[in-house]
């Protein structure tokens, strides 16, 4: 295998195919439509299922059905489309069937625009459907990672029989970068819990309904135990130049790679900055950030996101009160440039851990594109 120049959306689609996705259901929406388009030809070529549904509500329920029947199933969409899926997402978790959802986030609220955003952090991490749970949320920062995490998403979904999101944004979906696709895997056999026709075996039931409060509480306890196990085992993050860092920028996905450029530029000036990039947004690398804050070396954290500060809350919870946590964000589809993050970090260093008001208001003189 060698590297190819791949567009994010298509790389994710082909990675899903090679991970053994047997059934894709979806409805087109920018900026992820190339993903669906690739599936529309590729799945049929392989004799697998591709279906363009009449809506996102239909798509997620088709995923629920196919997954219940034991197929590796997925859908993909962008922010408002994911909002439409909320009920189905919760049913999937409540029924303990595996499913993979790709969200290529766009600017919101409402129809918003089709430019890159990270405004779905809360929607995915905190409120992907009703009830007490978190889905696993994987946030790649480059095309190779998008491929690898898509494959991992199917495996984690199977292992824990739960919902796994791969979250990207328009930048990652639309850009091309050299990356290597994995070899084609054989389709996995139908799991023994799946609805495959009773035959001689005991009956399998896939449902999220427990009319008795006692039974539903027992199910919830089991679900919480499973989530605790995931939180313990599946945390992933990138630590970049943190060994001697005094200032740490915390950023995920596209902003994570942009912040890395800012860190590199400041390092060249001899400033001790580093990058902490959560790869799993849930489970959040809370313990690792907390330990970093407790090291006594860090003077301040700068959280930077393409939203009003959603992951910021999780960073604050992890860091506690001893080290200041600042925020620099852009919204509405504006992608921050490295210079902006660099300026905010440099100001933080000059202010000995404090940010001037102009930076907090985004008035640092950089044009938007």
């Amino acid at each position: 295998m060698s590297k190819e120049l791949l567009k994010g959306n298509i790389a994710i689609a082909e990675a899903a195919v090679r991970a053994g996705c047997e059934a894709y259901f979806g409805y087109p929406i920018t900026p992820q439509t190339e993903l669906l388009e690739h599936m529309s030809s590729r799945m049929l070529e392989l004799g697998r299922v591709f279906l363009q549904s009449e809506s996102e509500v239909a798509a997620i329920n088709m995923v629920y059905g196919a997954a219940s029947a034991g197929a590796r199933a997925m859908t993909s969409s962008s922010s408002p489309g994911i909002s439409l899926m909320q009920e189905g997402l919760s049913y999937i978790v409540g029924s303990e069937v595996p499913a993979v959802i790709v969200d290529v986030v766009r600017g919101g609220p409402g129809l918003g625009n089709i430019q890159p955003s990270q405004g779905d952090y809360n929607q995915l991490v905190k409120s992907a459907g009703h009830g007490d749970y978190h889905p696993i949320v994987l946030a790649p920062a480059n095309i190779q990672e998008a491929i690898d995490l898509t494959v991992l998403a199917f495996d984690l979904a199977d292992v824990y029989r739960t919902l796994v999101f791969v979250v990207a944004d328009g930048t990652l979906g639309q850009m091309m970068e050299p990356a290597e696709l994995p070899p084609m895997r054989a389709l996995r056999p139908r799991p023994e819990w799946a609805l495959t026709g009773k035959g001689e075996r005991p009956q399998n039931i896939i449902s999220s309904i427990y009319l008795s409060a006692d039974l539903l509480e027992a199910f919830n306890q089991k679900l919480q135990a499973k989530l605790a196990l995931i939180a313990q085992r599946e945390v992933r993050y990138e630590a970049y130049q943190l060994e001697d860092a005094e200032y740490v920028v915390v950023a995920f996905g596209t902003v994570g790679r942009i912040a890395k450029t800012a860190v590199q530029n400041l390092r060249r000036q001899g400033i001790a900055v580093g990058l902490f990039r959560p790869i799993t947004l849930w489970p959040f690398p809370e313990k690792q950030l907390s330990e970093l804050a407790d090291s006594g070396r860090i003077k301040a954290f700068l959280v930077t996101e393409m939203n009003a500060g959603q992951m910021l809350q999780d960073v604050r919870l992890a860091v506690g009160r001893d080290v200041p946590v600042h925020f620099y964000g852009r919204m509405g589809g504006v992608v921050p440039m490295p210079e902006e993050i660099e300026t905010a970090l440099a100001e933080l260093v000059n202010g000995n851990g404090r940010l001037p008001k102009t930076i907090l208001e985004g008035k640092n003189g950089h044009p938007t594109r």
Binding site: L5, I114, T171, E177, R257, A259, K260, M337, P338, P367
Partner: protein, 188 residues
């Protein structure tokens, strides 16, 4: 060493493909590369642009405000990117579509009659290759031959009969950028 390039023009002028060609050629010669298009509503009837980064180190941000090199295939792109090219950078201008002259004194500006060059070789659709040739003459981030080899591998089958013509357009663009007349014009 990292070079950032923005190529911009009307939809159909080949800005996105010229950028992809650079990215492919960079990748095939062992560099880290990224390519990212504009994909917003501006594509419909307005200008389309892409940003290419070629680097010998892993690439962080795939977007830049201030490119090392900008290629303007039309007037709106000329107006948009003239102020943004980094000091000391290169600005390649399609003089068939842009009669204005750049005011900046702190950048290299090269004017290429790209439409005429392309038309003389068969079709105006090769405009992008004339400007790309000029870019390579002024900033040899990759050799002309390397880009030609890459083009051989990536020109869609439907355009295969135009391969040699594309090679000639690349060479003529390259030559246009190295002629003394052009150098004079850029120093106005």
């Amino acid at each position: 060493m990292q070079t950032s390039i923005i190529i911009s023009g009307f939809g159909g002028q080949g800005a996105l493909f010229a950028g992809q060609l650079l990215a492919y050629a960079g990748m095939e010669h062992g560099y880290h590369v990224t390519w990212i298009p504009s994909y917003g509503p501006e594509m419909r009837g307005g200008t389309a642009n892409c940003t290419v980064i070629i680097s010998d180190e892993p690439i962080g941000a795939p977007l830049v405000n201030y490119p090392d090199i900008a290629v303007a295939l039309n007037l709106p792109s000329f107006e948009k990117y003239q102020p943004l090219v980094k000091p000391g950078g290169l600005f390649v201008v399609n003089s068939s579509m842009v009669t204005a002259v750049a005011e900046r004194q702190d950048i290299d500006v090269v004017y290429v009659p790209a439409n005429e060059i392309a038309e003389q070789q068969g079709t105006v659709k090769m405009t992008n290759m004339a400007t790309l040739g000029a870019l390579l003459a002024k900033r040899p981030i990759l050799s002309l031959e390397a880009v030609q080899e890459t083009l051989r591998g990536h020109l869609p089958a439907s355009k295969a009969k135009l391969l040699q013509a594309n090679f000639r357009v690349l060479e003529l663009g390259y030559a246009a950028a190295t002629q003394p007349k052009v150098a004079q014009q850029s120093s106005i």
